[in-house]
């Protein structure tokens, strides 16, 4: 007694998957994309140099932009000004603050023909009443003699005295001059007052 086999309702078996060959064009496109990528990297990547950042694309490009020669003395002075030293009170604009810190812009103290007085003020600080551009101030300026070197004081004073944006046109200050003044005021440890400064001969 054999069971009659049920009629087969299953669809015909699918054809087995065969490994189809990767089309040649896909390989060509992949290689070309890789080549273009490598080309782009070569031109824009800076070859992993830690000195190359956008928008520059190669070390040579950055190196070409280095300006040789002595630095602009005003740049050195600006760096001392913003250390922060002067900028804390006299502000980046040099205008100071009304009633508290005198303006350096067009100031007669800053632009004296001889820098002796202003060097003293920076070295030992200022104390008490002072008139700048017909305005009265009565405050204290910090002494910078112990913090800044002769070179730094010379360059920051040159920056303040010659800043074209402020319209200041006075002579440059040399480090030798600062050094000479530093020697002269050894016997004067404290801050100067405006009256004291005015008694000192201008050329001293």
């Amino acid at each position: 007694m054999s069971q009659p086999t049920p009629p087969s309702t299953a669809p015909a078996a699918e054809s087995p998957a065969r490994g189809a060959a990767v089309p040649i064009w896909l390989i060509v496109v992949t290689v070309m994309l890789f080549y273009l990528g490598a080309l782009y990297f070569d031109e824009h990547g800076g070859w992993f140099s830690e000195k190359v950042y956008g928008p520059y694309t190669s070390f040579q490009q950055v190196a070409d932009l280095q300006i040789s020669g002595a630095p602009n003395p005003l740049e050195l002075g600006l760096r001392v000004y913003n250390k922060p030293t002067c900028v804390s009170c006299h502000q980046a604009s040099g205008q100071g603050a009304a009633g508290q810190f005198p303006s350096l812009v067009g100031s007669e103290w800053v632009q004296e023909a001889e820098p002796g007085r202003i060097i003293r003020a920076v070295l030992n600080g200022l104390q008490g009443p002072i008139t700048v551009k017909n305005q009265q101030f009565n405050n204290a300026m910090v002494p910078w003699g112990g913090v800044l070197s002769d070179d730094e004081i010379a360059s920051v004073l040159t920056y303040v005295r010659q800043n074209p944006e402020w319209g200041n046109h006075a002579s440059a200050v040399t480090a030798a001059r600062v050094k000479a003044v530093r020697e002269k005021i050894k016997s004067h440890p404290g801050a100067f007052t405006a009256d004291e400064l005015l008694k000192i001969p201008a050329a001293d």
Binding site: V52, N72, R79, Q91, P164, H169
Partner: protein, 290 residues
């Protein structure tokens, strides 16, 4: 068939490839940068470690999530190179002729006009080669010029910095607070823009008072309102009437607020570096001493 080893191997390769690309390569590239010098004064090291109080302030900055609204990275899209003529010297005709001969895009008709009203820019947005040619041509007949290199970009136009920031700028920051959102302004140069510690304290206490329309929430929990005993504290905030505490009380910053303000004042990434060539100071005048 057991595909386990194959799946393991491919995922391992995929993950290690991204580790090589995103972690190891940058580490080799910029991970061991030493403290360098700036490009203006070789005697000055850059960057300098932040002062102790500012280093504590970084942790306050981090704890209060300032980086959620403030980035510390300035972008730069290009560099503009100008040539400025400072002094024409004694032989203006020779200078004009040299400029024309240098073949830098200056015609005979323009050359004479360029020599008056100095100092002024005679060539703008040129390549460095052209700029160097022009400078050479100027210096031969005794004129004086300079090349001005200025980084440009949207961030720089906003006044957020004078150059782009580079990896060296963050050498002493742990962790680096780069940030990605700009609800508020970029702070990479906060100290250069606003060097006043007291301004920052007032701003933390009442941002809208210092910057009208600011979206920043006030950080008043960094301050203490207390009764004035005998005499007011030296570090009490000088507040305008509308937000001042009642008579007999004063607002003093807690140590966290002082540290945070010191950190903000210490943020300054404007130093010219080899990586970011630029000229910074106002150009030298042609009317020197006396």
């Amino acid at each position: 068939m057991n595909y386990g080893p194959l799946i393991f191997l491919t995922s391992f390769l995929a993950l290690s490839a991204s580790w090589f690309g995103f972690v190891l390569t940058p580490q080799i590239q910029i991970g061991r940068q030493p403290q360098g010098t700036n490009s203006i004064n070789p005697a000055e090291l850059y960057p300098q470690a932040r002062p102790g109080l500012a280093a504590q302030g970084l942790q306050v900055y981090r704890a209060n999530g300032c980086a959620a609204c403030h980035s510390q990275q300035v972008g730069q899209t290009g560099t503009v190179i100008d040539v400025r003529l400072l002094e024409a010297g004694t032989n203006a005709a020779a200078v004009a002729a040299a400029l024309v001969n240098a073949n830098v895009g200056i015609s005979t008709a323009n050359a004479a006009g360029l020599l008056t009203g100095l100092p002024k820019t005679i060539l703008s947005d040129v390549s460095i080669d052209v700029a160097k040619l022009a400078l050479k041509a100027l210096e031969a007949p005794g004129a004086k010029g300079e090349i001005k290199i200025s980084p440009v970009g949207a961030d720089i136009a906003r006044g957020w910095g004078r150059r782009r920031t580079v990896a060296t700028d963050y050498l002493f920051d742990q962790p680096v607070q780069l940030g990605s959102q700009r609800v508020g302004p970029d702070l990479a140069n906060a100290g250069a823009r606003l060097p006043d510690l007291n301004w920052h304290l007032l701003h933390l206490y009442s941002p809208q008072k210092m910057v009208p329309g600011s979206l920043m929430p006030p950080y008043r929990f960094l301050f203490q309102v207390r009764k004035i005993e005998q005499q007011a504290a030296a570090d009490a905030l000088r507040l305008p009437k509308e937000i001042a505490p009642p008579e007999g009380y004063e607002v003093v910053p807690k140590p966290e607020a002082v540290a945070l303000a010191a950190y903000l004042v210490s943020l300054n990434a404007n130093t010219p570096l080899f990586e970011t060539p630029m000229t910074v100071a106002p150009a030298t005048t042609n009317s020197p001493a006396k």
